[in-house]
C-alpha cells in the first residue's frame, strides 16, 4: 500500500557545489510505516547528506526523496512536523544553562504542543523524559550529564512531538552499554508497537543487528539495501568500506560485521 510508505528515495543524488563533490548518487529505497532501518558506511560516505535530504534541508540534484508521499524539499515545513530528529550529543551547545526539562519543553512548545488541544505540555515533556529514563535527572544542567544521558535527552526531545519518523545520527555515540541496550529496546518498541518508522545512522550496527528490518550500505552511492541477512555480507561490506570486514554469526543466526567501531564494543 502506497499510503504506508513513509520514506521513498528514487535515484537520489546530491552534489556539493563548493568544493564540487558528489556526496550521493543512485540511492533508491522505501520504508514502510514501523520499519527500522540502519544506515551504514565509512566516514564521508554520504550518511549525513542523506539525513539532510530526508529532513528537506537539501534539494536533491538528482532523483527524488519523498516523506509521507511529499517531496521533502518542496514540503519541508510540513514533513518536518512529522519527523523527530536526534543529532549527535556532542554537536549541541554544552554551555547553555538548560536542563533536560527545558530542552524537551522548548522543542514541544516550538511545535505547538499544549496549544489548540494538542495535550498538556508539562505532561508530554514528563512522559518523553520518563520514556528514555531521564525523569529523575530532569532538572540537572545538560552540560553536567554524561554523553549517554545527553543522548537520551535528545531522543526525548524528538519523541515529545510524537513523530511518525525518527531520524537519528549516531544515537549510540558515547552511550554506555546498559543505556545503549535500553535505548535499542526503546527504538525497537517504538517501531513494533507504536509503528514509528526509525532511521538510524550508525557506525556500529551490532547493538541494532537483532532489531533492524533493513540496512542501507552507502559509499557515496547505494552499495546495498535489504534485510541484514542480505546486506551484511563480507563482499558488500568490503565494497562499502574498501577493506575486508570480518562477519560473525551469532547463536541467533544474525550477522555481526566487525568494523573498527564494532571492535570497540
Amino acid at each position: 500500500m502506497t499510503g504506508d510508505i513513509v520514506v521513498e528515495a528514487v535515484g537520489l543524488g546530491y552534489d556539493y557545489v563548493s568544493p564540487p563533490v558528489c556526496a550521493l548518487r543512485g540511492v533508491s529505497f522505501e520504508l514502510r510505516r514501523g520499519a527500522f532501518l540502519a544506515v551504514m558506511g565509512p566516514n564521508g560516505s554520504g550518511k549525513s547528506t542523506l539525513v539532510r535530504a530526508v529532513l528537506g534541508l537539501l534539494r536533491p540534484t538528482r532523483g527524488s526523496i519523498r516523506v509521507a508521499g511529499r517531496e521533502a524539499w518542496e514540503y519541508r515545513r510540513e514533513i518536518q512536523r512529522i519527523i523527530g530528529y536526534v543529532p549527535q550529543h556532542d554537536s549541541v551547545n554544552q554551555h547553555l544553562p538548560m536542563c533536560p526539562r527545558d530542552i524537551v519543553g522548548l522543542a514541544a512548545s516550538t511545535r505547538g504542543v499544549g496549544r489548540g488541544g494538542h495535550g498538556n505540555l508539562t505532561a508530554r515533556v514528563n512522559d518523553a523524559l520518563a520514556m528514555v529514563g531521564m525523569a529523575d535527572l530532569a532538572h540537572r544542567p545538560f552540560g553536567s550529564l554524561s554523553g549517554g544521558q545527553q543522548q537520551r535527552v535528545l531522543v526525548a526531545r524528538a519523541l515529545v512531538v510524537d513523530p511518525h519518523l525518527l531520524l537519528m545520527d549516531e544515537p549510540f555515540a558515547g552511550v554506555d552499554v546498559v543505556h545503549r541496550n535500553e535505548l535499542v529496546e526503546l527504538l525497537a518498541w517504538l517501531s513494533r508497537e507504536k509503528h514509528v518508522t526509525v532511521m538510524a545512522v550508525v557506525h556500529n550496527i551490532n547493538p541494532l543487528a537483532h532489531f533492524v528490518d533493513h540496512v542501507l550500505l552507502l559509499d557515496n552511492r547505494m552499495v546495498a539495501f535489504g534485510t541484514p541477512g542480505e546486506t551484511l555480507t563480507p563482499e558488500l561490506l568490503a565494497e562499502a568500506y574498501g577493506a575486508e570486514v570480518p562477519v560473525l554469526v551469532c547463536d541467533d543466526g544474525v550477522l555481526h560485521p566487525i568494523t573498527d567501531h564494532a571492535a570497540d564494543h
Binding site: L55, Q80, S91
Partner: protein, 288 residues
C-alpha cells in the same frame, strides 16, 4: 569629570549623574540580553569586534560633520550602522557553518575598523578628541538625546529577543536540530548577531569601545558560572552590570576616575571572584 559638589546627595541628584544612572540601567539591560546570548553561544569576540566597528562608524559621522557634509546626526547612528554591518558579516560566516570563518571575519573587521578610525582621526586633528571620547567613553557625559536613542534601541533589542526567544534559544542550543524543527536558523542567527552588535553600539558612548566587552560579556560570563537556567543567568548578568555601574557612579563622587573604567573593573573582578569560588567549590566537590 564631575565638578565638585557639596554633598553626595547633591551629586547624585545632579542632572548629569541622573543621566548616568539611566545610562547604567540601559547598559545593564543590554548586558542581560545581548551579553548573555553572546556568552551562551560563545560568540563573545563579536562584542569586541562590533564595539570597535562602532568606533569607526562614530568617527566617520564626526569627520563628515566636521567637514559640513552632514548636520545633526548623532555619532551613535554611525556606530550602530557600522556595528550591525560587522554583525551581519559575522552572521554570514556563521551561516556557512564555520566557526573559524566567523573568528576570521570578526578579526579582520576589527582590524579594519581600528585602522579606519585611526585614519579618520588623523584627518581631523581638531575633532580627534571627540573620537577619543568614543574610544574611552564617559557615562557622565551622556546627553538627553543619547539617552533617548539608547533607550529606544535597548527597548527594541529586548522586545525582539523576547518575541523570538524560542527560536533564538533553539539555534543557540542546536542549530541543526533547530532546522529540523522548521526554524529558519540562518535568519534567526543573522538577527541574533545583528542585535548583539547593535547593543555594542548602544553602550559605546557610555563606557567606550575599549571596555564594552567588559560591561557586556563579563557579567554574562559570571552569570554562566553561577546559574543553571537561562532566565536566572540573564537576570544575574543584568544585576552584575547594574551593581557594577551604580557602585562606579557612587565611587566617582570620592575619586576622580573614569566611571566606565571603574564599572568595567568591578564587572571583571566579579568574574574573577566567581571563577575562584567555582574552582574552590569544585575542589571541595560542591559544584558539579
Amino acid at each position: 569629570m564631575p565638578p565638585t559638589t557639596d554633598s553626595f546627595l547633591d551629586y547624585i541628584a545632579s542632572p548629569y549623574v541622573l543621566r548616568a544612572l539611566a545610562g547604567v540601567v540601559l547598559i545593564a539591560a543590554n548586558a542581560g540580553v545581548s551579553g548573555a546570548f553572546a556568552a551562551f553561544r560563545r560568540s563573545t569576540f563579536l562584542v569586541s569586534g562590533a564595539s570597535h566597528a562602532a568606533l569607526a562608524g562614530a568617527a566617520l559621522v564626526i569627520v563628515l560633520e566636521t567637514h559640513g557634509l552632514i548636520i545633526g546626526v548623532n555619532p551613535l547612528v554611525g556606530a550602530a550602522l557600522a556595528a550591525v554591518g560587522l554583525g551581519l558579516l559575522a552572521a554570514w560566516a556563521s551561516n556557512r557553518g564555520s566557526d573559524e570563518l566567523v573568528e576570521t571575519a570578526i578579526g579582520v573587521g576589527f582590524a579594519f575598523s581600528m585602522a579606519l578610525a585611526a585614519l579618520l582621526m588623523s584627518m581631523i586633528p581638531e575633532a580627534a578628541t571627540r573620537v577619543w571620547s568614543v574610544l574611552l567613553g564617559d557615562v557622565l557625559l551622556l546627553t538627553n538625546g543619547d539617552l533617548w536613542l539608547m533607550g529606544g534601541v535597548t527597548l527594541a533589542v529586548c522586545g525582539i529577543v523576547w518575541w523570538f526567544r524560542r527560536p533564538l534559544l533553539f539555534i543557540t542550543f542546536d542549530i541543526e536540530g533547530a532546522k529540523s524543527f522548521g526554524i529558519r536558523a540562518g535568519l534567526h542567527n543573522t538577527l541574533l548577531f545583528g542585535l548583539i552588535a547593535l547593543s555594542c553600539a548602544v553602550v559605546l558612548k557610555s563606557v567606550g569601545a575599549i571596555v564594552v566587552y567588559a560591561m557586556l560579556v563579563a557579567p554574562a560570563a559570571t552569570a554562566l558560572l553561577l546559574c543553571a537556567s537561562v532566565r536566572r543567568a540573564m537576570v544575574t548578568a543584568t544585576g552584575i552590570a547594574l551593581v557594577s555601574g551604580l557602585v562606579a557612579i557612587g565611587l566617582s563622587y570620592y575619586v576622580r576616575l573614569s566611571v566606565g573604567a571603574l564599572a568595567a573593573l568591578l564587572a571583571c573582578l566579579t568574574y574573577f571572584a566567581a571563577l575562584c569560588w567555582r574552582a574552590t567549590s569544585r575542589r571541595r566537590g560542591g559544584v558539579a
